[in-house]
Amino acid sequence: MYKISTSPHINSKETTHKIMRDVIVALSPAIMAALIMFGFKALLVLVTSVCACLIFEYFMSKSLGLGNTASDLSAVVTGILLALNLPATMPLWMVIIGAFMAIGVAKMAFGGIGKNIFNPALVGRVFLFISFPVQMTTWVKPHVLDFFNVDATTSATPLNVLKHITENDIFSPEYMNLFLGNIGGSMGETSALAILLGLFWLLKEKIISWHIPVYYIGSFLLCMLITQLITGNVRFDVLSHLLSGGLLLGAVFMATDYTTSPMTKNGKIIFAIGCGILTYVIRVFGAYPEGVSFAILIMNAFVPLIDKYNIQYVYGTRRK
């Protein structure tokens, strides 16, 4: 008697675990950049966030009868993304609260991996942002390669500068520092170079398609460019807006989250353009200097609707 099963009899080597591992590899340049810029404090925040996420995931998945989903590494990804979205000076107990909001409320309460509507890491971040605005906006100047430097010089983020700049100020953008990440900001947001390296890996390993990052950033930049051309105001400097804030991190790692983004190519494009326009609206007209988290979370809520009306084109249904 031989084994009987339905076809296909072979499976790809792809597993959830492997995908998450690739995402972690893609995040490693950003982690390195954060450690180089912000040193020991960044490491503490990162480790706390990842451990807290893993512990919450382990106990909650067990108690909800979902088996042990902590071993699929998705909680590690959430932990890393949450940490990269926080300033390095964040008190650690707040980080743990953020991790609870991310894993406990945004993910497990909805049914665990694959069932959540909102991106867990962003829910954690936004919760902390609203609850602890002071700690969440205390940005320190990076001290490159000075690992144990605890001297925290606060500084404004480039977006804050842009938000409050007036016609009379002298505007001198430091594109190179923005690109490398030698500026104030969240741990993982500052270095555009590190995020682009991660994007390269994700695309190479076919973890994500190029649609969401390109359409998100593209639509945002287009809106900014038009505004800048019409007003001529340095507040809308396109390159500064591209390289600063959470735009790159959000477009590459947050908006592309499988569970909270649409299934089809067209759906992804609609979703990404929505994110781009909302980010633009919040940055230009909103009260906050940064709008990426809110934009993605708002568009997350539209994903079921987008999926409902964006059915894939089915072979042989073209009208003659």
Binding site: S7, H9, S12, T15, I19, G114, Q312
Partner: protein, 442 residues
């Protein structure tokens, strides 16, 4: 020439074509064959022999019953011992004619010489009659009677004949070998079908990796008008009928329609070779080439096998260590059927036997869907397998219809690619079955 491919989805597979360079070998004759009366789509053939009858190779055993049916001939010479029902290894009982072998005698009119006859008769009805008499069916797997495909229904016309030499299933190399060793016969077979269809446009589609077959066929087609070679991109399921039509002509077969509705006829290379033998050499379909391969340590082969040969006989001849075997498949690993017993015979549609070791025979454990969308991206029909799964779990027949579940070609791309190892194809199969059941009730 540029390679062509289909528009939607598809996946890249490890080909494992380990037997691609091993020549076709004629297998020893078994002492007993079990010849099923239904090896095709349609009505089972009507048995015209009784136990005790003496038969030769090529003797008619069962006559086509109605239009959608095909006749069955004997594949060995000897005595009909009984007509019985056996387990076909796939969970069904099947009526077979059991023949005990005595010697190896052929019917007198069969021309078993190696001489290639390229002159084709101009009498269209005569050609069609020869195909009917030989009992030829689609040998790629579906088993649709070839004469029906070749007779164009009224009000429709054909402009392209596609010869399917893609063989996109991993491990299988029977068609590949056939194209390399019997190239000229296949080209003549294509010319015969051209004549029957009244067209001058046959395209032999081959996987771009089969360079030697492409070179050989190109060389030969120079001398034959109306037959051309088209390399296609090496991607699964390039050999699916609907995908191949899309790749070659850019057309799409409308949902629920046949290739002829977009003026195409698709025939597998093995079928075309059988057409050549039937028309030019009066040899009915009593044998076929199949690949015996797999992932256990042994010698993979391409055998020329008599129809009705038990699979156990083939594996014995191949000296496989049976204790290491976990799963035996009829066909390739993507669409093949796992069989429980090795008594099952080779039929007209058996293109290969794939044997998997114990370790690779287990289904992986299923985890939660992470909505990655890989199933949607890979579906060559543009369906959404994860939504289909939802609809089937809810037993929502209307939703299943809306999701075009009936258009699923069962290629298995979705199940293969799924990182959560969800058996998405099983849901499609269940859904199709439920819909068919409902439409039968109505």
């Amino acid at each position: 020439m540029k390679t062509k491919t289909f528009a939607l989805g598809g996946i890249h597979l490890n080909k494992h074509k380990i037997s691609a360079r091993i020549g076709i070998e004629e297998l020893d004759l078994p002492d007993v064959v079990y010849i099923p009366v239904k090896q095709h789509i349609g009505a089972p053939a009507k048995i015209v022999v009784k136990s005790g009858d003496k038969v030769k190779v090529g003797t008619l055993l069962a006559e086509a019953d109605g239009k959608v049916s095909a006749r069955v001939v004997s594949s060995i010479s000897g005595e009909v011992c009984k007509i019985e029902e056996i387990n076909n290894g796939q969970g069904y009982l099947e009526t077979v004619i059991t023949i005990k072998r005595e010697g190896d005698e052929f019917e007198d009119n069969m021309d078993m010489s190696d001489k290639i006859i390229s002159e084709i008769s101009d009498n269209r009805d005569e050609l069609l009659e020869a195909i009917k008499n030989a009992g030829i069916v689609g040998m790629g797997g579906a088993g649709f009677p070839t004469p029906i495909k070749s007779e164009i229904p009224e009000g429709k016309k054909a402009d392209t004949l596609i010869i399917n030499g893609i063989e996109c299933e991993p491990y299988l190399t029977a068609d590949c070998r056939l194209m390399e060793e019997k190239s000229e016969q296949i080209v003549i077979g294509a010319r015969i079908l051209n004549k029957i269809l009244g067209i001058q446009n046959a395209i032999i589609a081959i996987d771009e990796n089969k360079r030697r077959s492409i070179a050989r066929l190109r060389h030969i087609t120079k001398e034959y008008v109306g037959v051309n070679v088209q390399p296609c991109k090496s991607i699964y399921p390039q050999g699916g009928e609907k995908q191949l039509i899309n790749a070659i002509t850019g057309r799409e077969v409308p949902s629920g329609k046949l290739p002829i509705d977009v003026n195409c006829v698709v025939q597998n290379v093995a079928t075309v070779y059988a057409v050549y033998e039937a028309v030019q050499k009066h040899i009915p379909l009593f044998r076929r080439v199949l690949t015996v391969s797999g992932n256990i340590d042994w010698n993979p082969c391409n055998y020329l096998v008599r129809i009705g040969t038990p699979i156990s006989f083939i594996l014995e001849k191949n000296k496989i260590q049976m204790d290491k075997v976990g799963k035996v498949l009829i066909g390739g690993p993507m669409m093949g059927q796992a069989i429980s017993s090795l008594d099952a015979p080779v039929t007209k549609t058996t293109s290969g036997i794939t044997v998997f070791s114990e370790q690779t025979s287990r289904k992986p454990e299923t985890t939660a869907c992470i909505r990655c969308g890989k199933c949607v991206d890979s579906c060559p029909m543009g369906l959404m397998p994860l939504n289909i799964r939802q609809a089937v779990e809810n037993n929502d027949l209307n939703e299943m219809k809306k999701l075009h579940i009936q258009d699923c070609i069962l290629c298995g791309c979705c199940s293969y690619i799924c990182p959560a190892k969800i058996p998405l194809l099983d849901y499609c199969k269940i859904g199709k079955y439920e819909l068919t059941k409902q439409s039968k009730k109505a």
